[in-house]
């Protein structure tokens, strides 16, 4: 199975096969997995916020959907991944707490998912599977040998996408 590499919050990493990338306890954040089906180079980024624009403290590019996904793609291409073979799978973007009003702050999970999809579309990367929304946390594992994304939850079972 190869080594297991953890990707923290507002963090990113990529590996060559074999190996597993994981991020633990995704809530309103979104985990974006990029996978090159030809070379099996696999990447994961754990974003917290939709956009780096209008945020002054934006030095950590892995924190934002717009800059994080772009940087991960660039890094993977430098490592030998082929742009036209890259697909994506996304998970997370839950709303952990329910309030009656739907202020922007509380809808951050949904906004992260929308921003992620827009960024992937702008980069012409197809999203072949997703497990987003809901009100529960997720741990995800990306298996570089197969491209399978395993999603674990507390009380909502385990699934593969």
């Amino acid at each position: 199975m190869g080594e297991l590499i953890k990707v923290g919050m507002a963090d990113m990493n990529y590996i060559s096969s074999p190996g597993v990338l994981t991020t633990l306890g995704l809530g309103s954040c979104v985990g974006i997995c990029l996978y090159d089906t030809s070379t099996k180079i696999s990447g994961m980024v754990h974003i917290m916020l939709p956009s780096s624009i209008q945020i002054k403290n934006n030095s950590n590019i892995a924190k934002f959907a717009d800059t994080g996904i772009k940087k991960l793609l660039d890094d993977m291409l430098k490592a030998g991944a082929r742009k036209n073979k890259i697909i994506s799978k996304i998970a997370g973007g839950a709303q952990m707490f329910n309030f009656n009003d739907s202020s922007d702050v509380m809808r951050i999970g949904a906004r992260n998912v929308i921003a992620t999809k827009e960024t992937l579309q702008a980069l012409s990367i197809p999203i072949i599977a997703e497990d987003t929304g809901g009100n529960y946390g997720r741990t995800i594992e990306l298996y570089s040998e197969t491209g399978v994304l395993l999603i674990k939850t507390i009380g909502y079972g385990t699934k593969q996408i």
Binding site: G8, A10, G25, L26, G27, K63, M96, N98, G137
Partner: protein, 204 residues
């Protein structure tokens, strides 16, 4: 440019820590009155730490925890979160319902009790802040979630993440006899509220 928690000087940090101490003390008193038993408390630890390291405080991002979340409005806006590991949550509900043991999972009654005690703790914490600053603060109804620590913590971390890379949390240990409740308070002022808060405390 709005002030972020990353830019605080040591005086400002000390003042925030002191508020944490007073607030936690009042919270313990409120809890003690509610259950009509003596509650002991360790000196609260007030930490300002990088958000990356926060889930480790409760045992890792995949550990199940209970989070009670409140919105704050009034002269400043922001949020408060009270976080308990599931053992502490269970101890706390046992304390409230005056029993020693029960099944592992929390039933509806216990969840409701937990929200209520969260309400009282957050309320007493906020009222100390209000008295010290002279600011009017209103706390919302609580919302409770029991899930992975990382997922629950992503909410305050994202809110903080818009203003900086660090969070302020107040770690409080309550004791009643052999029962030990370890709780973490996160104080999360919105972007412009941080400056108002420090100004009203006279440290800016």
């Amino acid at each position: 440019m709005p002030l972020s928690i990353d830019d605080l000087n040591s005086t400002q940090i000390d003042v925030l820590k002191e508020i944490g101490n007073i607030g936690a003390g009042n919270a313990a008193t409120a809890l003690s009155k509610m259950i009509a038993k003596k509650i002991d408390m360790d000196v609260p630890k007030v930490n300002i730490l990088e958000f990356k390291n926060v889930p480790d405080l409760v045992g890792g991002p995949e550990i199940a925890v209970a989070g009670i979340y409140f919105k704050v409005t009034g002269d400043i806006t922001g949020s408060i979160m009270f976080l308990l590991d599931t053992i502490s949550a269970k101890q706390l509900t046992n304390l409230l319902m005056d029993r020693s043991e029960s099944q592992d999972s929390l039933d509806d009654m216990e969840i409701s009790a937990l929200q209520e005690v969260g309400n009282i703790l957050a309320g007493s914490y906020l009222s100390s802040l209000s008295v010290l600053t002279g600011l009017t603060l209103v706390v919302s109804v609580p919302s409770l979630a029991i899930d992975m620590a990382g997922a629950i913590l992503s909410v305050p971390v994202i809110l903080f993440g818009q203003v900086g890379d660090k969070v302020m949390l107040i770690e409080t240990d309550f004791f009643e006899g052999s029962k030990h409740v370890k709780g973490n308070f996160f104080l999360i002022p919105d972007e412009d509220s941080f400056e108002i808060l420090l100004k009203s405390l006279g440290v800016i």
